[in-house]
Symmetry: C2
Subunit: 115 residues, 2 copies
Amino acid sequence: MLRSGNVFAGVRPDREAEAFATLAERPGAVVERIVSTGQASPAGFWYDQDWTEWVVVLAGEARLAIAGEAALRTLRPGDWLELPEHVRHRVEWTLADPPTVWLAVHWKGGRAEPA
Amino acid sequence: MLRSGNVFAGVRPDREAEAFATLAERPGAVVERIVSTGQASPAGFWYDQDWTEWVVVLAGEARLAIAGEAALRTLRPGDWLELPEHVRHRVEWTLADPPTVWLAVHWKGGRAEPA
């Protein structure tokens, strides 16, 4: 039985927390869905990752801050961004309704036999 | 300068060939955009890959045949499918207008410094 699904399944605007789900993982990379409903990174928090991440927004809207960039980046449906390792970034704002649906590919970890 | 773009950029229904573009690559995995405008796999041709592929349709519609499955699988926007290595498959049909936009993650290859 092949694993399958829909990236918009179960997306609701009334969740209190961001929802993270692993859609696929194999050694070398993990594909994750993130549903944001208005959340932002905590004040003063910056992601500083040891791996490259590629993100695309499929619904909703998000504003990202990148360390060293004066302006925020706005991501609307279809917009993608590559975040090389140690490019510090934070989520300043996300649209709650409709929820903001992201796909992220993380070049890290991954198991040979996903659950 | 971070690499960025939009997965729907330059999508047109009048292209004669499928269009493949590498959006991100790092050792271990490659993220690719595919735009299909009515193409299907050649008659009798089956993909038989040495690596796992994860695909999602973001626009349009596609019908896939999986070896050993009686029914075709229809993928509509948001539908994703994991294709483990050596699961033979072929594209039976794609919607041309609007074009069918896929993202594919291939767990293979990848360069440290993408062009």
